[in-house]
């Protein structure tokens, strides 16, 4: 492949870095407010871990919207389904989960996560074909149909598993914290951060370094032209939708382990959270979604520490503040 050195200066567009600086500035601003460095480090680590989990859950939603102009109000259902499926694996292997060996734990955890992703991905296929296909291009009906889908999914979970909360204990080797001096960082949070970052980097690599990613980015901008170049975008979309659903499932498992419990109503709670994140990030923007997730988690953690009462409405306040600054979110996607 030709790699040509540019002979003339390229008119590089200015990179919009203000949103990237935002969480950094917020974190730095909190050092004096929180006072103790160790608390600050703990809270920051907690924020990043939580942010990564939220990002994993929200990324599919924002990508699907950007690519196909479909807003799935039922995205939260994939999260709950993922979590429930994981309990299916956890229950019979409770002994392995509690074994004090990382390898044994992972031998249960990894298949559980994979199965969850497979099931929620498959569910994504069904949802796209049944609920979304008939209402492309009609926002109002999309909202109504997918809301209906959310109810049905949630109620089915109740019917199958009952209304009780199912405990989902952390595997033994992931309990406890890493202690660095007087800073304690929970082991599971480190894992969550690691997985979240891996997912983010993977998404970025796919989007920027592969032809598939180019297709997705091009499709976000102009679906017709991608088709006119000879690519079957419907299949591409279905693939993205299923990937997004599978990621939601993965996020569900991680969230369940974080809370150490599973409940059908978790989809409601998380739907709101991921909506706030994708609104803040700018509908359709992966980078915005990533920053938005971290911001939401930071506000929740720092806010919860400083002004516990405020934590209840902190998301809304954050959203209002961001939208006053940028009415279409941090990174507005150009085509809409």
């Amino acid at each position: 492949m030709t790699e040509l050195a540019a002979s003339d200066p390229l008119p590089k567009p200015k990179r919009d870095i203000a949103p990237i600086l935002l969480p950094i500035a917020l974190a730095l601003l909190m050092i004096p407010l929180i006072g103790s460095t160790s608390s600050w480090l703990t809270l920051t680590a907690a924020s990043l871990a939580m942010g990564m989990m939220i990002f994993i859950m929200a990324s599919g939603l924002t990508l699907v919207f950007g690519l196909m102009d479909v807003l799935n109000f039922g995205h939260g259902a994939f999260i709950a389904v993922g979590a429930y499926i994981a309990t299916l694996v956890f229950a019979p292997f409770a002994a392995s989960v509690q074994a004090d060996s990382l390898l044994v734990n992972l031998a249960v955890l990894a298949p559980a996560a994979l199965l969850s992703m497979a099931v929620s991905g498959a569910l994504g296929l069904v949802v796209e074909r049944v609920l979304i296909l008939p209402v492309y291009g009609q926002h109002l009906k999309q909202i109504l149909m997918t809301t209906g889908g959310l109810i049905v999914a949630e109620q089915t979970l109740y019917a199958l598993w009952g209304p009780q909360i199912i405990p989902m204990p952390l595997p033994a080797s992931l309990r406890g914290s890493f202690i660095l001096g007087d800073v304690a960082i929970a082991k599971y949070r480190v894992l969550a951060m690691f997985i979240g970052l891996a997912v983010f980097i993977a998404i970025q690599l796919v989007l920027n370094r592969t032809k598939l990613g180019l297709l997705i980015r091009a499709g976000v901008e102009n679906r017709e032209m991608v088709e006119a170049l000879g690519y079957r975008i419907r299949r591409l979309f279905l693939g993205v939708f299923m990937t997004g659903s599978a990621l939601a499932g993965l996020g569900g498992v991680m969230w369940a382990l974080y809370r150490e419990q599973v409940h059908a109503s978790m989809s409601d709670e998380l739907t709101v959270l991921i909506f706030v994140v994708v609104i803040i990030g700018g509908l359709g923007s992966i980078g915005g979604c990533f920053i938005g997730a971290i911001l939401v988690a930071m506000v929740a953690n720092y806010g919860g520490f400083l002004v516990p009462k405020l934590a209840l409405v902190s998301n809304i306040l954050l959203m209002v503040a961001i939208l006053m600054w940028r009415p279409r979110g941090l990174y507005a996607v150009t085509s809409r």
């Binding site: 492949m1 030709t2 040509l4 540019a6 002979s7 003339d8 390229l10 008119p11 590089k12 567009p13 032809k211 180019l214 297709l215 980015r217 091009a218 976000v220 901008e221 102009n222 017709e224 032209m225 991608v226 088709e227 006119a228 170049l229 000879g230 690519y231 079957r232 975008i233 150009t334």
Partner: protein, 240 residues
């Protein structure tokens, strides 16, 4: 000479609008066929219907030996049809390189083909790694055309490539299209710039109100000023 593309009795409705009202046309192999006509005559709709972006409500479209009127756009593209839309539709978020990588559907970019394209449009080499969105209108048009010819296509559908371009760029474009034609491509070209049309066209079709109102040799139309005026609604008084 065989016809590469043939439309017979094609009607297209968009919503409640009956835009194409029975189009019969043939694009001979290896020629540049001009499609002229005033705004709203249905030229763009004709190209979009061929490309499958709008579904013909009736009629037949034959490409080579295949019937394509009910095929999906990607399948039509894969038969070897390149499309340069009126809006250029470059992917502005992608770099020039990435735009071309996508356009080279079946493999990596071919260096000789690329050098050939750079020969016409040096700007593309210069802005190889820039976002397409930062290009000027003319450069976007070049990219859009480059995208359609980066791999050999049997048929090119090009919609008003000179629209809104400065004269010097128009000249470069005309040269490029002539070269593509020499290489054996078949082109159906929508154009409002009559001089560009005269330079390039072998045969000509004129549309009005969703039908073809004139078909003939480009040279004949170019010589017949009253006919031009009648068909295109343009006044050429100043040249008399």
């Amino acid at each position: 000479m065989t016809d590469l593309l043939k439309l017979s009795g094609v009607h297209t409705n968009i919503g409640r609008y009956h835009i194409l009202q029975g189009i019969d046309l043939a694009v001979p192999q290896g020629q540049v066929t001009m499609l002229l006509g005033r705004n709203g005559a249905g030229k763009t709709t004709t190209l979009r219907t061929i490309m499958g972006l709008w579904q013909a409500s009736s009629g037949e479209i034959t490409f080579g030996s295949e019937r394509i009127e009910s095929r999906a756009t990607p399948d039509i593209a894969r038969l070897g049809v390149g499309y340069v839309p009126e809006s250029m539709a470059v992917f502005s978020d992608l770099t020039v390189k990435e735009n071309l990588v996508l356009a080279a559907r079946d493999g990596p970019l071919d260096d000789t083909q690329l050098d050939w394209i750079f020969g016409f449009f040096p700007a593309l080499r210069r802005f190889w790694l820039s976002r397409a969105g930062s290009l000027s209108g003319g450069q976007k048009q070049m990219l859009s055309i480059a995208r359609a010819i980066i791999e050999p296509r049997k048929l090119l559908l090009i919609d008003e490539p000179t629209k809104g371009l400065a004269p010097a760029i128009v000249m470069a474009l005309i040269e490029c299209l002539k070269e593509i034609k020499r290489k054996g491509a078949t082109i159906l070209l929508v154009e409002q710039n009559f001089f560009a049309a005269r330079e390039l066209g072998d045969s000509v079709l004129v549309m009005d109100n969703g039908t073809i109102v004139h078909r003939g040799e480009m040279a004949d139309l170019a010589a017949d000023v009253p006919l031009q005026e009648r068909l295109l609604g343009l006044s050429l008084e100043a040249h008399q």
